[in-house]
């Protein structure tokens, strides 16, 4: 029985720990992508392409002809022509908490150290703060410096700054075609997403328009939501009403989200092996007890205890061990999760963290408990049924099989 108890404790505890760590990283990844690229991105305009067919009446005497038009497909027109109108419309969605237009383009960046390629992102800072966590990603300088320098202030990614050996206050040149302009590093940000930190340079929208020579329009509109998990439904509705493509974060980051989900499921399956062993140990223990206690079972039956009562005795026995094991497993899971959350680990690339990220969710405890309950109770059913099937006369006579 101790073996069963130990396996239940380990099974429940490790299930909780693995779910806490994998969903912790997944949750942090989601927070990072929402904080950098928003919940929904409204991009290219959609135009339905129409195919028309001419038809002529059977009656050749009449000269009547008509055309049938039907949707053939859809065409995307790059960018957003009227960002203000689209943003006004987006703000009417109940779930939308913020919208910001962004203009971007590829440029060459040159510091006193070396040239490199980069992407300019033109933003209205106040709008962009409502759809991103850029303020919390600043590692050097400040957003106030950026705000106070509408002509030449720039936010630059930490990797790009390192590669170009740029620090706050340094100047650099952005070039596109023959157009060049000088900017100053107002702040350096680090999102942890290397694809962002390596290439993005945020400028004030007016400066980006001037540099990219796009006086109107926007490349995309970044949208943030109150309930980010409703993004796919909202995106669909936005696409239908606004006739612009709308990509929710779940679609944009599908690959990584699938990786995290697969990791979570695979660790859950691996750790469930402990619970399976607990179930097998419980089966073995109860089966042994049934063999050892046949006389007692027969006596109880002779006193008027029914088959159901006998089954319940064994199921209760399993349930008590399960309950103790589960509570100890919760404690183990919580303790190890807390210890792991303090372990130093430096991760950069898809997010930035210096410690293990864990997620504290009651559902991990519920899932671990359900797994243990199912395995242990299923394992205890067979011995309990066997105990109930014993014929008291056979047992006492010594002919029970």
């Amino acid at each position: 029985m101790l073996m069963s108890l130990a396996c239940i404790v380990l099974g429940v505890g490790l299930f909780i720990v693995t779910q806490a760590t994998t969903s912790g990283f997944e949750g942090f990844f989601i927070k990072t992508i929402l904080g950098t690229n928003g919940a929904i991105r409204i991009e290219d305009e959609i135009q339905d392409t129409i195919r028309s067919m001419a038809a002529r009446s059977e009656n050749s005497d009449s000269d009547s002809t008509f055309q049938v038009a039907e949707k053939e497909g859809r065409k995307y027109i790059e960018g957003i022509q009227e960002p203000k109108l689209i943003m006004d419309a987006l703000r009417r969605f109940a779930n939308v908490s913020g919208v910001a237009e962004v203009l971007h383009g590829d440029v060459q960046i040159r510091s006193s150290f070396k040239p490199d390629s980069a992407q300019v992102y033109g933003i209205n800072l106040d709008d962009f703060l409502k759809v991103s966590d850029i303020d919390s990603h600043i590692v050097q300088g400040s957003l106030e410096e950026f705000r106070s320098e509408p002509e030449e202030g720039a936010l630059i990614g930490s990797i790009l700054a390192q590669r170009l050996q740029l620090a706050v206050g340094d100047s650099f040149i952005l070039q596109i075609h023959d157009q060049t302009a000088r900017y100053r590093v107002a702040a350096i940000y680090e999102t942890g997403v290397s694809d962002i930190d390596r290439v993005r340079v945020y400028l004030h929208l007016s400066q980006a328009r001037s540099l990219l020579q796009k006086p109107t329009g926007a490349s995309f509109i970044q949208v943030n939501l109150y309930n980010t998990y409703r993004a796919p439904e909202d995106a669909l509705q936005m696409e239908e009403t606004l006739h612009h493509s709308a990509a929710p974060w779940q679609e944009r980051e599908k690959v990584w989200l699938d990786v995290f989900r697969a990791l979570r499921v695979s660790t859950a399956i691996t750790v469930s092996v402990f619970t399976l062993i607990a179930g097998l140990a419980m089966f073995n223990t109860l089966a042994m007890i049934v063999l050892e206690k046949t006389k007692e079972i027969a006596i109880l039956r002779s006193m008027g205890y029914s088959r159901h009562d006998i089954s319940l005795i064994f199921i209760w026995q399993a349930a008590i061990v399960l309950a103790i094991g589960t509570v100890l497993g919760w404690a183990l899971g919580a303790g190890v999760t807390y210890a792991i959350s303090n372990l130093p680990i430096r991760i950069r690339g898809i997010f930035a963290t210096d410690t293990f990220i864990v997620s504290w969710s009651i559902w991990h405890y519920v899932e671990a408990t359900l797994t243990a309950v199912v395995m242990v109770m299923v394992a205890s059913l067979a011995p309990a049924r066997r105990a109930a099937r014993l014929e008291p006369g056979d047992v006492i006579r010594g002919t029970a099989t």
Partner: protein
């Protein structure tokens, strides 16, 4: 087939029972008929393998006959399902076996309370009170809180007698109740059974190899080769 009259607690008619399978199949009971009246003690005697214990288990509804009928308190029970036979055992029948079969992890008091807990006629306090009075009646009033493992063989068998009487059954079936005891304890347990049967008007059927004990019973029924002789 007529039903038994009111004073008869237990009756069986033409009981047949086969044990074993295929070539090992043995006709153990060959049309046994028997009845036991309240307040009487019956001894079933005979050589080993003659079917005494098998008959006792049939009468106690622990086993099902291949043919024949059994009445408990004038109710035909032999053709009932397991649930009904189990309920009848709890209400009307007490068992004492050669080995006490006490629950080792429980005290004497708790062992005696077990049949009462299942029957559920009394509240917990009343159950404990009755268990204490039964243990006092079998001379163990000062050992109610002892674990079964901390009692001697004779004491354990006396607890088993108290347990068998817990629900005031009309019938007490005893399979060699003194077979595992020394002479002094055998006499003690048998005297106890006799006294309680007379006081409570219970029908007692006991299987024994002990001729001295058999001779002290009200009725002795010798058995041979699956029939009464």
């Amino acid at each position: 087939m007529s039903a038994p009259s009111g004073n008869i607690a237990l009756r069986c008619q033409n009981l047949h029972r086969f044990l074993g399978r295929d070539e090992g199949r043995v006709h153990v009971l060959k049309g046994v008929s028997f009845e036991a009246q309240r307040g009487q003690v019956y001894a079933v005697v005979g050589p080993s393998g003659c079917g005494k214990s098998t008959l006792l288990y049939q009468l106690g509804l622990l086993d099902q006959p291949d043919d024949g009928q059994i009445w408990i308190n004038q109710q035909l029970m032999s053709n009932h399902d397991d649930a009904a036979r189990t309920a009848a055992r709890g209400e009307h029948i007490g068992f004492v076996f050669q080995f006490h079969f006490l629950m080792q992890e429980f005290t004497a008091l708790e062992n005696v309370m077990m049949p009462m807990r299942k029957l559920g006629r009394l509240d917990p306090d009343a159950m404990a009170e009755r268990a204490r009075s039964l243990l006092a009646a079998v001379g163990l009033g000062d050992k109610t809180q002892r674990l079964a493992t901390h009692l001697s063989g004779g004491e354990q068998q006396r607890v088993a007698v108290a347990r068998a009487l817990a629900n005031q059954p009309a019938i007490l079936l005893a399979d060699e109740p003194t077979g595992n005891l020394d002479q002094q304890n055998s006499g003690l347990v048998f005297d106890l059974l006799m006294r309680l049967a007379k006081e409570n008007g219970q029908a007692i059927v006991l299987v024994t190899h002990n001729p001295e004990i058999a001779s002290r019973c009200d009725v002795v029924r010798p058995m041979r080769d699956g029939v009464f002789v």
